[in-house]
Subunit: 229 residues, 2 copies
Amino acid sequence: MKALVVDDDRVLADVVAFTLRREGFEVIQAHDGQMALQRWREAQPDLVVLDVNLPKIDGFTVCRQIREQSDTPVLLLTVRDTEDDIVHGLGLGADDYITKPFSPRQLVARAQAVLRRTGKAPTPAVRRVGPVTLDPSRREIRIGQAEPVLLTPLESQLLDYLMLNAGQVLTTEAIIEHVWGPAGGDRDMLRQLVRRLRSKIEPDPATPIYIETVSGLGYGFVKPLADSQ
Amino acid sequence: MKALVVDDDRVLADVVAFTLRREGFEVIQAHDGQMALQRWREAQPDLVVLDVNLPKIDGFTVCRQIREQSDTPVLLLTVRDTEDDIVHGLGLGADDYITKPFSPRQLVARAQAVLRRTGKAPTPAVRRVGPVTLDPSRREIRIGQAEPVLLTPLESQLLDYLMLNAGQVLTTEAIIEHVWGPAGGDRDMLRQLVRRLRSKIEPDPATPIYIETVSGLGYGFVKPLADSQ
DNA sequence: TAGAGCCATGACAAAGCTGTGACAAAAAAT
DNA sequence: ATTTTTTGTCACAGCTTTGTCATGGCTCTA
């Protein structure tokens, strides 16, 4: 699932890109309107996140051009006050908008909502591996027929990542970056997080059966026998 | 539920369309009177949102024609000052009117009110989840056989949204935007609103059984047993 | 056998989020 | 114009979640 992020402000663009990558998107960036159109043609993304304030060619024009040539969903970034922008943008066929400043969570929610709405949806409601079912929207995990257990945001994030890559071992660095972002997080925090997660989902946290530790490498979610692919 | 949106101003038409889609309508557009009549015949919408200022054939004529051939509800869009238009329009059988500029919230409220009133109610007169019944038109809620309780406009709006998505957890951002619109509203306001709503509908507001909180995410209206998927 | 590295654990502090009550401002009703 | 209702703002308390630190066990190696 490819996303094109277009913003003049590189810092913001990076933040957006990072957030989307964390959700499994492959992200391409552009920093002005001209570049945006070019990249869009090259890469044919499944989603465009577009700031309206752009040098060279402004966001509205970009949006219109894209819309003329395809139905790629477009998500607009606007400043809070400028309702006109919103109206104008939606008029040009944008699929939704977000007002700055916005939280990463909000961005992801909108992006997925747009994809779902336009039918390009690769957004499964729940993640399942063997008997373990995670519902990220509620941060709720259920194992077999047992009572569901509520997870904290970080726990849910971690488990989601591990389950997404079930059967593989992920390095601590990769996990830390995925959960806390490029700037924050250290080994100790991850250890604690794993610990807390295990204490919620493992029958016996001392001898884990779902989350395995590979010393010197990292952690993995074990896939129950019955290989395929 | 199909809606036909007729407006010369494409930007505005798109905004209206967007707003209605968000409420679950399937939306068709037309940009002049002639097109409007044609589309109306083709698509047989359940609701027409009609600007009175139209090229080729003006809105009043369109309204009259539609009304001659069916009882499809018609919602007029007029400019604030022209009271004559309103009188004229209602005289021709329009079901309600909105003066520009208007808020999305207002539009949706009117649209659903009109549908309800004319009995085509796709938005059934009331919204029901388990033992809880909300009548948005009266802003009245009844739980089981208990006495109905009156809600304030915002409370009703919030509850309606939550009940519409019963069983799901909605993010605070989404709720705020739905209730207050893109520009207004913060977490504090939502907290208060939830609080006031709970104090009216929960037997014991301290341990809510209808409106659940998911910390860090948002709120949801709990669906009584009968698992979803 | 001692030391280094890695991991699990427990206890505790810091930060964040939610619920609450009181009150001010705004809107609606009279 | 005044009263009542509704909505918004603020500060605080309690809980949850997260981060930090210290300790002990284990394995590997010199």
